[in-house]
Symmetry: C2
Subunit: 327 residues, 2 copies
């Protein structure tokens, strides 16, 4: 119940390392992990310690804006790179490297790209690591929903690649237990973890060690494992149902692919539409969608990210019908 | 259990406002309060939003270094002002104002100054508010242990003064419930609270609303009030016992005054001594004291801050005897 160490409860850190090393192919030791209050704090701390004013940080476009805010708050300049059906477009990244000479970091969500849900292909992963090593930029890998993958085989993080030299790997418990549970982690070099630890003392002294011990108990007693098994099956069925409903009511109006994991679909209307206006109309009917503005770098992007995890089948079908009537 | 607003649970914020307005003489409305993870985060957020690179921030010397770190991390330059038996020396502050032209803020612990435990006198409080209004600097008031005051009458915060124009008032629940409970608050202008809210979203999205609801229940059911009544009496008795023991074993070697509140004594050895060396020797005997380096701006300060709250009578007496044998 007292003051304790800033990098997080030791037992909990060990449990996370075990999980990352055995399930996600990483090779971390105890001083390469740091417990944060969710993935946002992991990004803020990384950004403050890694970046200097004027540094260039490449991001996916469309992408996850709250992360960009963390980089901007450290004085970085954001450079967007497009995303296609294999994920981040490496050729665009190469162009940026040519034009800007050097970049400091790239922020990616390769497992299920936010918001397009695309999984970064293996050839591109390999190329990205090669470029990172050659140019010395850090790969900031946000693996925010690693747990929910429905494909046949697991896809290992870019940070787990044996030749990956500069990475910051970020994960969270928010999607497993509850968003209000602010418990995440970052894995990085000893040196960065040491800097992050000093900064954390200045920001909020320490994390929530009581909560960490509680979650550790859930892990040790097998509850998390059982919950994940049940939840993954539950979400897989829901994803399949959602696909069916989209095919029924929307297939003529949108392009989409069935996501291999994550808790959302990405729909791109076949015709350019003003999705911001549609978002307002949907809200009138009780349906809230993320405004496309929320993940586009400059001009609004013609795409809809629809989360399905917290809705029941009737709600999902109602939502799709309403969207169909407005497109 | 979901995502929620960044400025803190609404009911809990209202409860804190009620307490500050009714017990501490403040006049706050709902958008002038913000719930943080302890007082350190309140200082970090305030510093980041209030200060720009090169701004001058005056601090008490000796004082609370973790706060200084927060100001430094925002690029501020720290200027120390001495403390005597009436608290912060206003004449020294005036000299700084003359020499530096303007200062942006002053950080104070007026209730029970850290580490000297001195209460800032009323004339000096009045003068400080006048200077703040005249020169436009912000008073950052850290009232970290307001609850534990044993004097006859309550002493109201500087921030509660009717003419105080620029203040940031910081409080915490760490001393009431537990240090591991990271729950604090800051009260300031609407404008600053709005900035702090935006920054908080980037740092860690939101606070611990589940914990806030739990503590709110303790407040509403009267448990906190009863606990405080009991704890205050308990600590008052312990303070009186500690005074007795110091008088018995140390009165020839140190100067001290009986603190009116807080959970520590401040002892100044009558002869200059190397307290850092003594701290090391004490640690060998199982006694941990804060090194004088931890609260002095430059050269080590000839003073000992001894916390008594978590020790029993035997431990307190043993500790004082050991210190006496080394001084």
């Amino acid at each position: 119940m007292g003051y304790s160490n800033a990098s997080g409860d030791t037992d909990f850190r060990n449990a996370i390392i075990q999980m990352l090393n055995f399930k996600r192919g990483m090779r971390l030791s105890a001083d390469e992990i740091f417990i944060t209050r969710g993935s946002q704090m992991a990004m803020y701390l990384s950004a403050q310690c890694l970046l200097r004013k004027g540094d260039h940080v490449v991001v996916e476009n469309p992408g996850y804006k709250p992360a960009w805010q963390a980089f901007k708050s450290a004085g970085a300049q954001i450079l967007p790179v497009g995303v296609d059906n294999e994920g981040l477009i490496i050729e665009d990244l190469k162009l940026l490297l040519e034009n800007y000479g050097s970049i400091k970091a790239i922020y990616i969500t390769p497992h299920h790209q936010f918001p397009t849900t695309v999984t970064l292909s293996l050839p591109r992963r390999l190329e990205l690591v090669t470029l990172s090593n050659k140019h010395g930029f850090t790969i900031i890998e946000d693996d925010y929903d690693n747990e929910f993958h429905f494909g046949q085989r697991p896809i290992l993080p870019v940070s787990s690649f044996e030749n990956a030299e500069n990475f910051i790997y970020i994960g969270t418990m928010s999607k497993i237990v509850a968003p209000a549970l602010r418990l995440g982690y970052l894995a990085a070099s000893r040196n960065l973890i040491a800097q992050v630890t000093e900064l954390r003392k200045i920001i909020d002294v320490q994390g929530d060690n009581i909560m960490a011990q509680a979650v550790l108990q859930l892990i040790n007693e097998g509850h998390i494992k059982r919950h994940l098994r049940k939840a993954t099956l539950h979400y897989k069925n829901k994803r399949d149902f959602f696909e069916k409903v989209i095919n029924q009511h929307l297939s003529e109006k949108v392009n989409f692919h069935k996501p291999e994991g994550g808790l959302a679909f990405w729909l791109t209307p076949k015709q350019e539409t003003n999705l911001s206006k549609i978002a307002v109309k949907l809200l009138d009917k009780g349906i809230q969608i993320i405004s496309p503005q929320d993940f586009s770098f400059d001009k609004p992007i013609n795409g809809l990210r629809l989360g399905y995890a917290s809705l029941n089948e009737d709600q999902l079908e109602y939502g799709i019908k309403m969207i169909s009537s407005l497109l």
